[in-house]
Structures are given as structure tokens and as C-alpha cells.
Amino acid sequence: MRMHSVFMGHIERLRRLVVAMGLSAEEGQDVLQDVYVAAVKGPAKYCSEQQAWRWLMRVTANRCLLEFRRRKRHSRAASEVVKQWSESAREAPEPDKQAIAAEEVETMMQCLRQMDESLQVPLAMRYFCDLNSTEIGEIMDLEPGTVRKRLYKGRIMLADALLRKGIEA
């Protein structure tokens, strides 16, 4: 089954996209399950693997957007993120730094929740799925220049949110 192998070959990126869009693991698995079914049942009009995986990324992004409208996203606790983050750091941060980090996490999650979908999808693809502007443009049917503008807007929104809070970067 060709679509099965394409799907499984790109599962890490698909999963990252779902995660970066703010869905929980449980919701995300449901989304990928649906995408998988759509992929294997879909018409075999995707002549190359490249086109097939672009289709998978686009369908996954759209499916996440549908979920957004129904559910609260980025709802995990800031302390949970800081804990996980500290564990992956070489040295455990001091308590005051952890408190600042928790505030930063809360600020970023709030910003992501409010961010327009048209900015959030390219941000997730660029900074978590490691795709470049051209690849994102091919998936989303946009010019690379448009993708770069959206990435710029998203990055400035996130940075501004930190600056507004007066958090020392």
C-alpha cells in the first residue's frame, strides 16, 4: 500500500505538526487516524511520493484547524512545560528562573491561542517540522514570499508578547 508507506515514512513530521497546532496527544491521534484513513481510501492521483506527503501535510493542517474550532488548544499547564524543559536541560534552573520561565510559557501559550491560523500553521511547519518557505508554500499553495511574510508576522507577535510582559529575554 503506497500511501501507507508514505504516511509511515513521514509520521514524525505529521505528529510534530499536530503537536505544534496545540492538540493533546489523544486528540492528535484521532486526527492522524482520520488522515490515515483519508489517505489510504483517497484516490491514487498523487503520482509522486513528494506530492503525496505534501497532500498529507495539507490535510493534517486542515484537520487540525477543524479541531481548533471545536476545542480549547494549548491548554496544558505552564508548570508541566517548565518541568519537561528543565529535565532536558543539562543543569536544573534555579527556582526564580523557573518562575520566570513559567510566566514566559503562559504568555506564549496565550499568544498561540490568539494567533491567527494563517500564521500558526507556517510557524509550526517552519520551526517544528523543519520545512523551508518553499516547501511550506508548496503544501499550503502559497508563494514562498507570502510564507515568509506570515512567518515574520508570527515571530514578531510572539516576541512582542514577551516584550509587552516586560520579561527579560
Binding site: 496527544a25 487516524q33 529575554a169
Partner: protein, 178 residues
């Protein structure tokens, strides 16, 4: 958005610099400028930090996923097909045992009303109805485990009550709806 008052380096350039997308000479020029411009320094640090924090949020989400997940199990309305088939098989097994027991407990020489073909057909129909209702109830109960399925589950309970009113499953569904 916060005002970026520097007239030498634009915000676009700072984002491109932060992302390492500028030619080396341009990147060096901006790095030198950032060292002397507080406005650009603040934005540059905020760009870097905000991305670090956002990626930490994403990584935490990723860490909560199970190590392996099989996607090749087709789901039926939120349930794995395997689960639905298992429920159906269980119900059919129970029905089969019930039907055999009834046949065995009937007199070998059919006499009286019970031997009447119409009655047997009615009995069979009722058994089949109970089976269908029980199957639907089991599926609705499984579905109810999934978040966001409340309205769909209630609809199924209502369907059971309305379509199979005289079954045990309908009575249970009624209780669930209360």
C-alpha cells in the same frame, strides 16, 4: 506591536538574522549593530527567547505521545473496528446460546401454542431486536469513552429507546439518558 524605533535595521532583518537566513556579511553587520543598539538588542533577544519557549511547549506536547501508535486500524465513528466487531461477536454469541437453550428446552414433540410457528417467529424477531439493541448500546457505551462524543452518544441512546422500546437495552439507555 511594540514600536521599533531603530532606523538602521528593520524588524524583517532582525527576524531573518535570528533565523540565520542572511548572507554572512549582512549577518555580521547586524550583529555589530545589535551590540550597540538597545532597541534592536531587546527585540533580537525576544525573538530568540520566544522561539525557545514556543519550541519547549511543542516538545512537551510531543513527549506526551505514546512511543508507538498504529494508524492502520480503521475506526468506525471514533471506535476501532476491531472493538466494534468484538462487541458484535460477543452479542451474537450470547444470542446463539440463548436460542439453542430455548430450542433444547422446548418439548421434542411440539404441542400447544409454543409450538406454533408464528410464536417461534415472533420469539426469533424479539431475540434479534434485543440483539440489535444490545449491540447498539454496547457501541454507544464504548463511544462515550471518547471526549466530545456526548451528543452523538445521546442520539444513539434515543435511537435505541425509540426503535427497540421493549428491550432491556432500551431500559438501560433510558436510564443513561436521565
Amino acid at each position: 506591536m511594540n514600536e521599533h524605533s531603530c532606523r538602521i535595521v528593520s524588524k524583517e532583518d532582525l527576524v531573518a538574522y535570528a533565523d540565520g537566513e542572511l548572507p554572512q556579511s549582512e549577518s555580521e553587520r547586524i550583529a555589530e549593530h545589535i551590540a550597540t543598539c538597545p532597541d534592536c538588542k531587546a527585540l533580537s533577544q525576544a525573538l530568540e527567547r520566544s522561539l525557545q519557549v514556543t519550541q519547549a511547549i511543542w516538545r512537551t506536547g510531543e513527549a506526551q505521545w505514546p512511543k508507538a501508535h498504529s494508524f492502520d486500524k480503521v475506526r468506525w465513528n471514533g471506535l476501532r473496528l476491531k472493538e466494534a466487531v468484538a462487541v458484535a461477536a460477543g452479542v451474537l454469541l450470547l444470542l446463539g446460546v440463548g436460542a439453542i437453550w430455548r430450542l433444547l428446552s422446548e418439548p421434542s414433540e411440539p404441542t400447544g401454542k409454543i409450538a406454533d410457528e408464528a410464536k417461534i417467529a415472533e420469539l426469533r424477531f424479539k431475540i434479534a431486536e434485543s440483539g440489535h439493541a444490545a449491540q447498539l448500546l454496547a457501541a454507544a457505551e464504548l463511544l462515550s469513552r471518547y471526549p466530545g462524543s456526548k451528543s452523538s452518544v445521546e442520539e444513539r441512546y434515543r435511537h435505541i429507546v425509540e426503535t427497540y422500546p421493549d428491550t432491556a437495552a432500551a431500559a438501560k439507555a433510558k436510564l443513561k439518558m436521565q
